[in-house]
Symmetry: C2
Subunit: 178 residues, 2 copies
């Protein structure tokens, strides 16, 4: 019984909608205190938070205690058909993600579906993924909440100004294309 | 026009249902020749194939040309309620995945939903993920085809004989729990 109890205590709780995007780049919904020990195990260097609301105190404290830097790019969430994803904000956020000094980085918004999905979609375009694969991944994380408007945003997003950035993904994955 | 054409040719096509499981561990549906240049960019060392059918010639050739080792663990696919996932086969497959010398390894079956989903689910149990997070991930990849029987298999799968394996994931991710 004591042994069983110990086993239970050892379980980790990844945040909802958690996934690996690439080496050193992770995504999820909003983490709460139940997720902290899992997040600790990731050895994060930074968190990229995509909502305009202030970061909750418990989360801020967790970041501070673990020496994790917070980058906040507040994107207002409008319900369809009033969608307004700011291109320039996504561009700035991409620069943070692409900088290996920030890895491992966890990208999150509220549910890890729309704002995070758009940002990851734009990253995939930079990685030269074809759009059907980009949308396949977007839909996997957005499920029943998938939005055509988000996918159109990703499709029309202009990567030309980012193409000459020095990529520094932490691994050889995809690197033969760079 | 010529420039645009060149851009198009540079696109890569990840296999359907492609995702990163952990550092050096990838998953997908069945890759076809359209995916080969993407797979090449991953620098794979091995492929773990979970269907009993012989590997298609074009795929075998691709692996041979790129020095990629094939591990095949044929699991018959039965429709519910006749489900029979062999525990021992999953155990052997897990040993291949956990061996860092095989990384990067791509796990795939036909759709990347059931067989691949069960195997990844068992891996998550070894990583001490709580079941709700394991199922969240399983369902993301299985979508409308999610099976309760697969999830029950993962829940009942006994990891005790694997706990003492020397893990050798390629990164620090999750390593603080080991």
């Amino acid at each position: 019984m004591g042994e069983e109890r110990k086993e239970e205590e050892e379980l980790v709780v990844p945040p909802l909608n958690f996934g690996m995007v690439d080496n050193g780049i992770l995504r999820s919904g909003f983490p709460d205190s139940a997720n902290f020990s899992f997040l600790q195990s990731l050895g994060l260097r930074s968190v990229l938070y995509l909502c305009p609301e202030p970061y909750p105190e418990a989360n801020s404290e967790f970041l501070k205690d673990n020496g994790i830097q917070l980058f906040q790019f507040g994107i207002e969430m409008c319900k369809e058909p009033f969608v307004n994803i700011p291109e320039e904000t996504i561009r700035q956020a991409l620069k943070v993600i692409l900088d290996g000094r920030n890895h491992p980085v966890l990208i999150h918004c509220k549910r890890g579906k729309h704002r995070t999905g758009c940002l990851v979609g734009c990253l995939r375009k930079l990685q030269r993924w074809c759009l059907s694969s980009v949308f396949d991944e977007y839909q996997r994380h957005a499920a029943a909440k998938a939005r055509v408007s988000d996918q159109r945003f990703v499709e029309l997003f202009d990567i030309s100004s980012l193409k000459n950035l020095p990529f520094s993904f932490s691994s050889t994955i995809y690197s033969s294309n760079r």
